[in-house]
Amino acid sequence: MGCCSQSSGKDGEMLSSDKVTNEEISCLNLVVQGKPLQYRGSADVRSLLESRGENPMYVNVRINDEVLGHRDFEHISLHDGDSIDFLYYMGGGTCLTLQMKKSSGIRGI
């Protein structure tokens, strides 16, 4: 199993009694982006992403040899020894660009 195990809140946060949940906290030895990582938190991909400051909407994830579907990260469990890579979406945009164009007369992107 992992490097430690205890019950607490998400993402390794030590919670006060009124915040304690029944959520299982795991401590796993992972390889993230090619680097060893001792991860302590909920053993699901979404929690790992959030603990690393990654927006789950910006990335896809590859675990070992499997590229995950984009939107079900919270249902994918992590296991000791997993190798995780973040695959970043790049090359899109939102309406802010159009708003900028309309308001400032900026042309092009």
Binding site: N60, V67, G91, G108
Partner: protein
């Protein structure tokens, strides 16, 4: 032996003395036909290096005009080109670099209606767009027509590159099956882009094209290369064809081109 003039042999001599390229490789470059989608941050170095390398026929499609905010990274355009169509500005620069090449300019947006006829004229496609509707359109069309594709994307201090041998290696949808939900991934206009990052990624795309044409080395097939300029690191992620891929899998569900709507949330056409 090779259909190269004395001037061309001199011009390309640093290629030709590479034993892996040689006169035969340079001849392949001269006979190659490459379509570059977008003449922006990525398209600029791609177009300039392919022109300089002597790729015989280069198509560039882009419907935008040069804006002063482009000039921090779109190095194929200059201050005097502001308000000119990017395809014209790009063509002028490429011809200045190398008058021996032919440049086809398409001042229009790439759509599901014009992409198949366009692809017929080219062997390799380079993706230099910054919007997901066109990115998926290009991937799907290249898979359907078995065209080689060199993907690239940039944002802030990061970039990614992936080469695709349609039907043989993982396609873009094998890794990113569907576009991200509307409004979730910002554009360079919103999140910013360090100009030189576009140069790094675009130059790597051009390198991949030259390798694929000449047969030198191993293209980035089944590999996704991510670049982080802040840490100055490259991180390679292995990819593989997804049997359930909706466009190149065993039972594809996408058999006709899809043009995702350019809604407010998914971006207007443009270039990184």
């Amino acid at each position: 032996m090779f259909n190269l003039t004395d001037e061309e042999i001199l011009r390309y001599s640093r290629h030709i003395i590479l034993s892996e390229v040689g006169g035969a490789g340079q001849q392949k470059l001269k006979e190659a036909r490459v379509l570059v989608v977008g003449a922006g941050g990525l398209g600029s170095p791609v177009l300039m290096y392919l022109a300089a390398a002597g790729v015989g026929r280069i198509g560039v499609i882009e419907d935008d005009v040069v804006d002063v905010t482009n000039l921090q990274r779109q190095v194929i355009h200059a201050t005097g080109d502001v308000d000119k169509p990017k395809v014209q500005s790009a063509c002028d620069t490429m011809k200045q670099i190398n008058p021996h090449i032919e440049v086809d300019v398409y001042h229009e947006r790439l759509t599901k209606d014009n992409i198949f006829p366009l692809l017929e004229n080219y062997d390799i496609v380079v993706d230099g767009v910054d919007n997901f509707p066109t990115r998926y359109l290009i991937n799907d069309a290249c898979v359907m027509k078995k065209k080689k594709l060199v993907e690239g994307g940039i944002l802030r201090f990061m970039g990614l590159i992936m080469s695709i041998d349609a039907g043989e290696s993982a396609c873009y949808r094998c890794v990113f099956e569907e576009p991200p939900p509307p409004g979730t991934v910002p554009s360079c206009a919103e999140a910013g882009i360090l100009g030189a990052v576009a140069g790094v990624v675009g130059t790597l795309q051009a390198t991949e094209v030259l390798k694929i044409i000449t047969g030198v080395g191993e293209p980035l097939y089944n590999r996704l290369l991510q670049f982080d300029a802040e840490e100055l690191r490259f991180h390679e992620v292995k990819a593989r064809r997804n049997p359930k891929c909706p466009v190149c899998g065993e039972n594809p569900t996408i058999t006709e081109l899809i043009e995702y709507a350019y809604t407010c949330e998914t971006q207007a056409p443009g270039n990184p």
